[in-house]
């Protein structure tokens, strides 16, 4: 929400007050603004100065208001400054230069869309590239307070910002061809990518689960420009745009360690909540390695975002909603020792097994559409001369399947509700017979049934079929999550 800076200069004891539910950083702005104004060669009014940040009921934080406060104070004494339709962002240094802040991109987009007649935005030089990504604003670079004032008096122009250029397509991401063998796991990844399904990989340590997970972004289609901006806005809030250039069209990949705090995972922190890893993975992949090692509370906290594709973090001062539309890729050992189903043999007690697999139950298991195993590779497969398919080939199929989905209700199969998938599946009579049989023989719950149908729909989309047939259902059944140990 745009904030209006109001200044009143009154007679009385000289003083400088800032009001409007401000945090400590804004209170300290007084001690930055005053010297900056002086060091820029202007006079700070030696009267009673009151600054109000409106709307006053909304909590505000951060150093981004410095520049606007300084300009407002100067404008109160010098009516020759023309401020119509201009917004300011930036922190002031004591020598009156302007320093970069975090969250410029979302603020710029907000100002552009606020409909309050803002046409120009003055920002720190370092933030100009990201601010320029917001459409409908002229973005100007402010190296210092004096340059700003000169511009507002009409004496000297400011440099117009240019958009950060799209970086060359990154080939840093691992390619699917880098993983040898693992045919079944790769097929499951392709289906998951094509339908936006959440996926779980199980396998012994060192089998290549992490490597496979890292290839998932390379299978996903490029983000649309507006989606990329959405993602960049979240990174801007965290001040981490440097690790992810704002115009990158590749979907993000995040892999938090299981020792992460709950706030780090879903968002939080003091003051206004910061976006967490799940929001940084927005429109991309959230990879949780050693899924069973994440605490129950952590996994429980993922339930709302997985359902609503957004997360609301309530803190004392305000509740914030961040987007969190991610594809969950989990990896876990099949058992505590990690060797269940492996040539080395598992040394776990059955009791341990039940407890271990029980940790996954409930919130997460219900949201995982596909499960695949990642076995330890035989040496002859690792050193074999089989030609592995490259990510680009798989991505082409994924994109075709996504196009088929978009032609229907417009969301990925993985996000369809029970009723929606029943309508979208258009299953053949044979497929329906197979599904009925599976409900009976394999004791599928209603939820499990819909998961199978969603996956079958994606398999049919990959095959270019309008209707879900018998084969798609049979294959989907093979990837279903085991309901019993």
């Amino acid at each position: 929400m745009p904030v209006r800076v109001e200044v009143d200069i009154a007679n009385g004891l000289p003083g400088f007050t800032i009001v409007g539910l401000t945090d400590r950083a804004i209170q300290e702005a007084r001690e930055r603004v005053k010297p900056a104004i002086r060091n820029a060669g202007f006079d700070f009014p030696s009267r009673r100065v009151t600054v109000n940040l409106a709307p006053a009921e909304m909590p505000k934080e951060g150093t981004g208001f410095d520049l606007a406060i300084a300009i407002a104070v100067l404008r109160a004494a010098d009516p020759s400054l023309l401020l119509d339709g201009i917004a300011f962002l930036g922190e002031l240094a004591l020598d009156a230069s302007v320093r970069p802040i975090t969250g410029v991109l979302p603020m710029a987009r907000c100002l552009a869309g606020a409909g309050i007649g803002i046409r120009r935005l003055i920002v720190p030089v370092e933030n100009a590239g990201e601010a320029a990504l917001a459409d409908g604003l002229q973005v100007l670079e402010a190296p210092s307070l004096s340059a700003c004032v000169a511009y507002l008096r009409g004496e000297r122009p400011l440099v117009s910002a240019v958009r950060d250029a799209s970086p060359a397509p990154a080939d840093l991401e691992p390619d699917l061809a880098a993983v040898r063998g693992q045919g079944q796991a790769k097929r499951a990844l392709e289906i998951a990518a094509a339908g936006g399904h959440n996926l779980l990989m199980t396998g012994p340590p060192g089998a290549g689960k992490t490597m496979l997970a890292r290839t998932v972004p390379s299978l996903l289609p490029d983000l649309r420009y507006d989606a990329a901006l959405e993602v960049a806005a979240i990174y801007s809030l965290r001040g981490t745009l440097r690790e992810r250039p704002p115009t990158t069209l590749r979907p993000p990949f995040r892999s938090p360690h299981h020792s992460i705090s709950r706030a780090g995972l879903v968002g939080g922190g003091t003051g206004l909540a910061q976006p967490g890893e799940i929001s940084l993975a927005h429109r991309g992949v959230l990879f949780l390695d050693e899924l069973c090692e994440f605490s129950r509370q952590h996994l429980e906290a993922l339930r709302q975002p997985l359902e609503e594709r957004a997360v609301t973090v309530a803190r004392a001062r305000a509740a914030v909603t961040y987007p969190a539309d991610f594809m969950l890729v989990g990896a876990s050992n099949p058992c505590p020792c990690g060797h269940l189903g492996d040539a080395r043999g598992c040394s776990c007690e059955p009791r341990q097994l039940v407890a271990y697999q029980g940790r996954l139950s409930g919130p997460i298991k219900d949201r995982i559409d596909l499960v695949t195993s990642v076995p330890r590779q035989e040496y002859r497969e690792i050193f074999g001369d089989a030609v592995e398919e490259r990510s680009t080939a798989v991505r082409a199929r994924v994109e075709a399947a996504r196009a088929r989905q978009n032609a229907r209700p417009g969301i990925a199969n993985g996000a369809l509700t029970g009723r929606e998938i029943l309508a979208a599946a258009r299953s053949t009579a044979q497929a329906r017979r197979l599904l009925a049989l599976s409900g009976e023989r394999l004791h599928l719950s209603a939820r499990a049934f819909f998961r199978v149908l969603r996956v079958a729909r994606t398999i049919a989309d990959l095959a270019g079929d309008d209707r879900v047939g018998e084969d798609a259902v049979a294959e989907a059944l093979h990837y279903r999550i085991e309901t019993t140990g």
Partner: protein
């Protein structure tokens, strides 16, 4: 079902005479339920830490015996023992559990429900005094009772150090027929049973082997047993379409990973997954935790 455990002694009417074949028969037995008159019976024993495939074999052998009117005897332990009891109960047969602890102690605790069902169908018995905890050194002693009660012993899965091998030794000493289910030479869980076979024990390839070996069983079920437990006789595969048969023919009873099947047959992962899904639905294949699949027909 009698709810209270009762004490029987060698002179009781209910005393199983076969226990007198032992050099040192128990001085008496606590029983929950009723042992009943002597009927043809087979002990199914094996490892606590069994593979899922092994448990499936124990269950189906128990089931076929129960259906044929043969009593199933085992030790109510985790793994093979429990699976054998469950199989017999599923077929509506009678089954007897011989414990190594007191009659009022439920070990393992999670088998409380199973214990009640066994007592209702047949009996839970022990020679240990009430309140005896499950002490390690009591289990070999318990095994001699299992061996003595049974007309034959089938060892499904056992490592070289498994207590199931002690049951097999007791049975051999008593002149009972012993059969062992062979396994892959690489499978640790079958190392004990494979050793038994090397040392001259008759391999158990299907339930027919058991009936061939033990005359009492043939008398109990003259028509011969149903053959659900028989591993893949080619005839039973006829009901599957050729593509599914192709997969089954490549799978032994030893669990394999779907990728191995795909590589062996030159099929794409999606085709293998499709066929395995169909086979699982037909009950011909089971998927095991850890991602392996095993054939069950």
């Amino acid at each position: 079902m009698s709810l209270a455990p009762r004490w029987i002694e060698p002179r009781s009417r209910e005393w199983p005479e076969r226990l007198d074949h032992l050099e040192q028969p128990p001085t008496g037995l606590w029983q929950l339920g009723s042992i009943g008159p002597t009927v043809p019976s087979v002990a199914i024993v094996g490892s606590r830490r069994a593979t899922f495939g092994g448990m499936e074999i124990a269950r189906s052998v128990g089931h076929d015996l129960g259906a044929a009117g043969v009593q199933v005897i085992s030790g109510m332990a985790l793994g093979i023992d429990a699976a054998a009891h469950v199989g017999a109960l599923e077929a509506g047969g009678t089954t007897i559990a011989v414990l190594g602890c007191g009659i009022d102690v439920c070990y393992p605790a999670r088998h409380a429900d199973l214990r009640a069902r066994i007592a209702a169908s047949g009996a839970v018995i022990t020679e240990e005094p009430a309140g005896t905890p499950p002490l390690k050194h009591n289990f070999p002693k318990r095994n001699r009772i299992i061996a003595a009660l049974a007309h034959a012993v089938v060892v499904v899965e056992a490592t070289e150090r498994s207590g199931a091998l002690s049951t097999a030794r007791w049975a051999a000493d008593l002149g009972r027929e012993v059969l062992a289910v062979p396994g892959s030479i690489r499978a640790r869980q079958s190392s004990g049973t494979n050793l038994l076979i090397r040392d001259g024990v008759r391999p158990f390839l299907s339930i027919a082997d058991l009936f061939d070996a033990v005359e009492e069983l043939r008398q109990a079920a003259p028509g011969g047993p149903a053959t659900a437990a028989s591993p893949g006789r080619e005839g039973t595969l006829e009901r599957f379409s050729p593509p599914l048969r192709e997969i089954l023919a490549r799978m032994g009873t030893h669990p394999v990973h779907p990728d191995q099947v795909g590589i062996a047959l030159g099929l794409s992962p999606s085709v293998v997954a499709t066929r395995l899904g169909a086979l699982e639905l037909a009950g011909a294949v089971m998927s095991l935790p850890g991602g392996l699949v095993a054939r069950t027909v």
